[in-house]
């Protein structure tokens, strides 16, 4: 629609409202994104939003080992910098855990053991021992420092270049593509029949299918795997396709039927008069006109299969050639699963493909597909 005068305050309001909504929706994910570039310690000790700007933090650094001290006149001296990266700003320091901020930069602290320590604002420290020290563990320095935001790509490196990830991606695709297309096809035919063909008990059938939406997958695993084992499919791709098809069908039929029932009847009648068989009507009229519904369902089914771990674990074998990406990612997490930085990075690695699918299918959620076909309300 290209209407006159649509640029108004309203457009502003709409833009603002959408902006707000998007912000609300994106903040949690954004937090995850930021976290995916931080290391685990940072994640569990400070909020992700603090990572975006320089922040003041109390850190503990270990000075160089006393063994490395050099004689300097009568004393032995150890020097170094508290910052790994070499830049930062110390605002206070201390030498015991009890008083981590006891001294201002430049002041001299005297340790109970006799040595003296000073930390400059730029992070340089100097420890002077009255006599030659020994030991391979350095003195702990408690520093209050302003540190610039620090990010790391390690998490991504770990996820993306983990062993077997490429293979797993391929496996995932092998599962996902047929498990997306087959249910769409099967459901589309069924939906057409349920929407436009005369058959007894249609309403009941529709309701039954809607009812099946509610079946929790977990209850289906054992009987189905048993079935697969009995009929010789066992664990493998065929089985998982069928399983995903079965689990995805109710939603597919439900969505597609609803959409197809809304297509203008005259078009279908017209095709019927034109001599098209139901098969031809389906293929040449219904399918192209149902693209928005097909695309939406495809998006969901794709996502669901892509992100699925449970079904894959149950219906696929454990061999190299059957482990999917989600499985590989879970492998990266320790047995007790506390690696949030890996989780965060992997969430973004595995989101790439679904978002690409969403983008490419979003084109089909088009306006005015039916424009010009019929007149009248």
């Amino acid at each position: 629609m290209e209407m006159a005068g649509t640029k108004s305050r309203l457009t502003w309001a709409v833009n603002l409202a959408v902006g707000f909504l998007v912000l609300l929706w994106i903040i949690p994910t954004f937090g995850l994104l930021v976290s995916s570039f931080r290391d685990r310690d940072a994640i569990s000790t400070s909020g992700w939003w603090t990572a975006l700007s320089a922040s003041e933090q109390n850190v503990i650094v270990r000075a160089d080992a006393p063994d490395n001290a050099r004689p300097d006149g009568a004393v032995w001296v150890l020097t170094g910098n508290v910052f790994d990266s070499g830049s930062g700003n110390v605002t206070a320091f201390g030498i015991t855990s009890r008083e981590p901020e006891a001294f201002a930069p430049g002041e001299v602290a005297t340790h109970a053991r006799g040595h003296q320590i000073t930390v400059e604002a730029n992070g340089d420290y100097r420890i002077t021992y009255p006599e030659e020290p020994s030991g391979n563990r350095g003195q702990r320095l408690f520093v209050r420092a302003e540190s610039p935001p620090s990010f790391t790509l390690d998490n991504y490196r770990e996820v993306m270049f983990a062993e077997g990830m490429g293979k797993a991606l391929l496996n995932t695709l092998t599962v996902t593509i047929p498990a997306t297309i087959i249910p769409i096809l099967v459901a589309a035919f069924a939906a057409y029949a349920l929407a436009w063909m005369e058959m007894p008990g249609r309403a009941l059938l529709i309701a039954a299918i809607v009812g099946l939406l509610v079946v929790p997958l977990q209850v289906a695993f054992i009987p189905l795997l048993k079935l697969h084992n009995n009929i010789g499919i066992g664990k493998g791709y065929l089985g998982i396709w069928l399983a995903h098809t079965g689990f995805g069908l109710p939603l597919a039929v439900f969505l597609l039927r609803n959409y197809m029932a809304g297509l203008p009847g005259e078009i279908i009648e017209s095709a019927r008069v034109d001599g098209a068989s139901d098969f031809a009507i389906f293929r040449k009229i219904i399918l192209p006109l149902s693209f928005p519904a097909l695309a939406s369902f495809a998006i969901f089914q794709f996502l669901w299969v892509w992100n699925d771990l449970l079904v894959a674990k149950v219906f696929l074998g454990t061999g190299e050639d059957q482990v999917v990406m989600t499985g590989r990612i879970v492998d990266l997490l320790g047995s007790r699963g506390g690696d949030w930085e890996i989780l965060a990075a992997s969430a973004f690695v595995s989101i790439a493909v679904p978002i690409a699918v969403f983008f490419s299918l979003q084109r089909y959620l088009v306006r005015g597909l039916l424009a010009g076909s019929v007149k009248g309300g």
Binding site: N58, I60, S97, E99, T318
Partner: protein, 429 residues
């Protein structure tokens, strides 16, 4: 071979046991193993498995699952289980055994365990379940155990503050009060664990059970001969509460205990200034220490002490993984056989985080002094008891016991919690 972490013949390993394996020829045999280990743990178990593969020519496929319990149940029930399953808790193994889904181990294995494992009989007992026909048999073989009665701390912090490692529970409590008196917080406790929230508290309670009641009471408790709402149990719960429900004792206050993730909670030890001075947790916890933390230097542990006055000795709480055959085959049998060989233990010992009751291994292979120290705790134990919640039926030990502890940490009355757990237990008998 390229996979082998330690070249055969080098070091203090019992290579003869490796050579002995070569008598089995399992070329072409495929063995699948399903277990709960993922990530670094998975690499470790695989490094062990490689020696078996190398020696016998078998093809072993280990796969880990974060939803192991669910998956093994489905696979076993559906008739496509792996050859061997590694159960983190004996309870589930017992359950599958009772449904006839596990294959009993050869009769001589029990004897072998009795002979070669420290406190062998108790390991045999833990692995013996009733089968589908009701007859008891040894199904589970313990490999890799954990010690749970550990308290972690930062030695330098203790030094800075002038604290000493407590030797008795009385001292521990005194130290706790001392720290409070110094204006600091003694403990970090976190019960959060996603879907398993609450389990760290069960370890506390079990440890307390062993410290105020007899081992016999403990055993009775795990089978419900001693009801959950028995005053003895309630007392143990309240012992835990004495630490966890005291706002002054725990970092973040009692309210934070239940929601703080157990993986986050040790971080407080390393904060500047320290948020807490002690953290009671099992031997695996260093995984969640800040990066670069060197156990033994930056952090260390001491035995979670017993009451000097109670005269119950030095009880140690532990856990372990049970290996069982879920799909019998020549290879599976051979692999279980392999687990008996010292080399199967030593390879992991030489890396990290592996404790074993196997008396035939050469402890020189331990490269990590802390692990050796843990083994010391294990050896010094007057009483060793397996994690009680793992022995209870799943609905209790992995269900209401957890949730009950969360409720308790949240302020509910101990007796009330215990009674409700007991009533669930009764409902599933």
């Amino acid at each position: 071979d390229q996979h082998l972490k330690f070249a055969p013949g080098e070091g203090a390993f019992s290579w003869d046991s490796f050579e002995a394996l070569k008598s089995m020829d399992l070329s072409g045999e495929e063995i699948s193993i399903l277990g709960p280990w993922l990530g670094p743990d998975k690499e470790l178990i695989e490094s062990v498995v490689h020696y078996f593969e190398e020696a016998t020519g078998a093809d072993v496929e280990y796969s880990g699952s974060d939803s192991f319990e669910q998956q093994i149940v489905i696979d076993a029930e559906a008739g496509s289980p792996p050859n061997i399953a590694i159960f983190p808790q004996p309870g589930l193994a017992a359950d599958l055994a009772s449904k006839g889904l596990l294959a009993p181990l050869p009769a001589e294995t029990a004897d072998w365990i009795r002979d070669n494992y420290a406190a062998g009989q108790s390991w045999v007992d833990l692995g013996t379940y009733a089968g589908a026909d009701g007859a008891e048999a040894l199904y589970g073989f313990f490999y890799k155990v954990d010690v749970k009665s550990l308290v972690w701390y930062v030695p330098e912090n203790f030094e800075d503050a002038g604290y000493d490692v407590p030797q008795t529970m009385e001292e521990l409590k005194a130290l706790t009060d001392q720290i409070v008196a110094d204006g600091e917080t003694p403990w970090c406790i976190g019960l959060g664990s996603g879907g398993a929230t609450g389990w760290p508290a069960t370890d506390w309670v079990e440890d307390m059970m062993l410290r105020i009641n007899t081992p016999e009471d403990y055993d009775a408790w795990t089978t419900n001969e001693l009801p959950f709402d028995d005053p003895k149990v309630i007392a143990a719960i309240e012992e835990f509460g004495a630490f966890a429900r005291n706002d002054d004792y725990v970092s973040g206050g009692a309210g934070a205990v239940a929601t703080t993730d157990f993986r986050d909670s040790p971080q407080g030890l390393f904060a500047s200034p320290p948020q807490c001075y002690m953290h009671r947790q099992a031997s695996f916890i260093p995984t969640f220490f800040p990066e670069g933390t060197e156990v033994g230097v930056d952090a260390d542990f001491f035995y979670f002490p017993a009451y000097a006055e109670k005269d119950l000795g030095k009880p140690v709480l532990g856990a372990g993984t049970v290996w069982a055959i879920t799909n019998d085959s020549k290879g599976a049998q051979a692999f279980m056989e392999f687990l008996k060989s010292p080399i199967a233990h030593e390879v992991w010992m030489a890396q990290k985080g592996f404790l074993t009751p196997h008396t035939g291994v050469n402890t020189e292979v331990y490269t990590d002094p802390t692990v050796a120290k843990m083994n010391g705790i294990l050896l010094n134990a007057d009483t060793f008891r397996f994690d009680g919640s793992d022995l209870m039926p799943g609905a209790i030990g992995a269900g209401v016991f957890w949730t009950g502890m969360v409720d308790y940490a949240g302020g509910k009355d101990a007796a009330e919690v215990a009674a409700s757990i007991q009533s669930t237990w009764e409902s599933i008998k």
